[in-house]
Amino acid sequence: MTVEAIILGCLNNNPTAQRELYNKYSPKMLSVCYRFAQNREDAEDMLQEGFIKIFNGMQSFENKGAFEGWMRKIMVHSCINFLKYYKKLGQNAHLEFAENIEIKEETIPSILQAKQVVECIRLLPIGYRTVLNLYAIEGYSHKEIAELLDIEESTSRSQYTRAKSLLEAILIKRRIIDTNTLRRSQFLPAWKNK
């Protein structure tokens, strides 16, 4: 089925079309949720809530831009709402000092580089991780992040700076990125990361 046919079917509440949509986009969306969640179970709960909102709100998609982008926005909102509802953001949102963070290398499975990078992101404290996900990957501005997380814009900026530095250190320690070059093309491939 084409994306247009799937959308039309979902607008008509067709279970087959809804299943097609889910099968097509759930792997990527679960990845989005996993970067925000503390564990896989939370990620799946976020995914479930996000897709229910997507199916119930199909009428509000007005063909302005990519459908996947629209879905992704809803999924990110679902993740943030989940973290807020279960008060998980409040635990580390204002973490100021992180020098004592222990990088547990043994927790990072060495399979694929993408998975390694995601796992490195998930090593960050949840507040840092959320800001980094929203700014660096999802493309939100600091102003939008501040409104979304009920924090100051300056807090968002400072948390992002700290998160980025911490993540760089983790990626270097895991040899996922090379310290001796500035060019993206020379980021070490996974098979050299031994």
Binding site: N13, P27, K73, I74, R183
Partner: protein, 464 residues
């Protein structure tokens, strides 16, 4: 290592681009539970209806096929003959072993004591020879029942009689396995024409007893005829379903306008099933069976969709999006401006085990009777969509997880039954009521479902 030393080894844009690329390449596959929960949230539990529907379809097809598709009567007769082939000889007095077996269908009730005494004397003079199957006469079987009264067939055609060897007796057996011996002495002493029965048109003018007195038939060891007291019934009841409300607590009672505010409407449902009936006596019949029910009623609601946040169109993904939540209000008077009227549907799919009794009140005629029936039905709901009033007394909430899956229903019915042969048909109104509340736990109102409809049934008398 001080990770906040401030030296970034990379251009910020390059790191962000790298992270974005890696994150977009990452895939994870959710467990099956996630989709099932999504599907259940959107459509309810979809698994059981297909199973229930196909179970009902298969059961109905088997029942209809058994009742309607019967082997032909000739096939029955031929199979009966074939079944007697190479079997032990019929139970006969020793003197009557030399006989030809013919199979006929006729009324055994017309055998009189006089004829029984006659054959007892005659049998003593028979020779002792083994009986032979009269396969040569298979084609001359005449079904001596009401359906053939309009034919001109004879009990034993003249050609058949002429072909009979005079040294042999004739043993006639009927459907009830009674054996009748026509001694050959009767054939010898009586002209062939006298064995002919009157023409069919004369049946209506002649008492059947007179026919048999002039045509003596003798029984040896008649099989005791017993009626099988079991029936098989298949029925279907198109019905209208609705609910009764009872306020649950004082707070709700103080909101007397609640029942006036909501608008619910009955909807069509159906019940179908089968039962095994046991006749205690001529008046009372016990019944037990299996039944599929679908109940439904509609609710008017007012949906209010509230946008929570609009994201401006100035970012990489270049989209506006509104996160929305919908609330269903019970009436327009309590719904916010901008609410849209919709119809929700409460539906219940159930399997029940009706156990009851029928009472034949009066026989209107030989074939028509008026009956009353009652039954108790333990019921299991295997699929449902239920909206219930929330504790705020203003909105509907999905209450699937609070449904009482096991419940008890009671039904009462009255019907006319028409019997023809071993088949009966019945039709009449039925009322069914749910004894326990639909939802468990606390809720502002208690709901009791009920249905009323017209039940149509087909009953087949079972035989040994």
């Amino acid at each position: 290592m001080n990770i906040f030393m401030g030296n970034s080894f990379y251009n910020d844009d390059e790191l962000e681009e790298f992270l974005k690329q890696q994150a977009n390449n990452h895939r994870m596959y959710p467990s099956d539970k996630v989709w099932r929960n999504i599907q259940e949230s959107l459509h309810g539990n979809m698994r059981w209806p297909a199973l229930g529907f196909f179970s009902v379809l298969i059961i109905s097809a088997l029942v209809v096929g058994t009742l309607i598709i019967e082997p032909g009567k000739k096939m029955i007769a031929e199979n009966y003959l074939r079944s007697t082939k190479n079997t032990q000889p019929v139970i006969l007095p020793q003197d009557a072993e030399n006989a030809i077996i013919l199979t006929e269908h006729f009324y055994p009730a017309h055998i009189t004591q006089q004829t029984i005494q006659y054959v007892s004397r005659s049998l003593s003079s028979q020779q002792n020879q083994p009986p032979q199957e009269a396969t040569a006469f298979n084609q001359n079987i005449v079904l001596f029942n009401n359906s053939l009264l309009n034919t001109s067939n004879l009990l034993i055609p003249a050609s058949t009689l002429h072909a009979l060897p005079v040294s042999k007796d004739i043993i006639l057996t009927n459907r009830s396995k009674e054996k009748y011996i026509m001694p050959r002495t009767l054939l010898l002493s009586t002209a062939i024409e006298s064995l002919k029965l009157p023409a069919a048109s004369n049946y209506f003018q002649t008492k059947e007893e007179d026919i048999w007195r002039s045509f003596p038939l003798f029984t040896t060891a008649p099989t005791k005829q017993t009626t099988f007291p079991f029936d098989f019934e298949f029925y279907i009841t198109p019905s209208v379903s609705h609910r009764k409300w009872v306020y649950n607590d004082e707070n709700t009672k103080q909101a007397p306008s609640l029942k006036q505010m909501v608008h619910h409407a009955p909807a069509m449902g159906i019940e179908t099933g089968f039962s095994l009936n046991y006749h205690l006596n001529k008046a009372f019949t016990l019944k037990a069976g299996l039944q599929f029910n679908m109940r439904k009623y509609n609710l008017d609601a007012y949906r209010y969709t509230r946008p929570t946040e609009i994201i401006p169109d100035d970012n990489v993904l270049n989209n506006d999006v509104a996160d929305t939540t919908s609330t269903y209000y019970i009436a327009q008077s309590v719904a916010p401006d901008g609410s849209k009227k919709i119809t929700l549907s409460n539906s219940y799919y159930q399997i029940s085990l009706p156990i009851g009794v029928d009472w034949r009140v009066v026989n209107i005629s030989k074939k028509l009777s008026w009956n009353i029936g009652v039954a108790v039905q333990p019921t299991y709901t295997f699929d449902k969509t239920v909206y219930a009033i929330d504790n705020d007394l203003k909105t509907y909430t999905n209450a699937n997880n609070r449904l009482r899956n096991w419940n008890v229903n009671a039904n009462a019915e009255t019907f006319l039954r028409y019997k023809k042969g071993d088949m009966s048909w019945q039709i009449g109104p039925q009322f069914r009521y749910q004894m326990l509340p639909t939802l468990s736990g606390s809720s502002p109102v208690k709901e009791y479902l009920f249905d009323y409809g017209v039940k149509v049934g087909f009953i087949k008398t079972l035989s040994h």
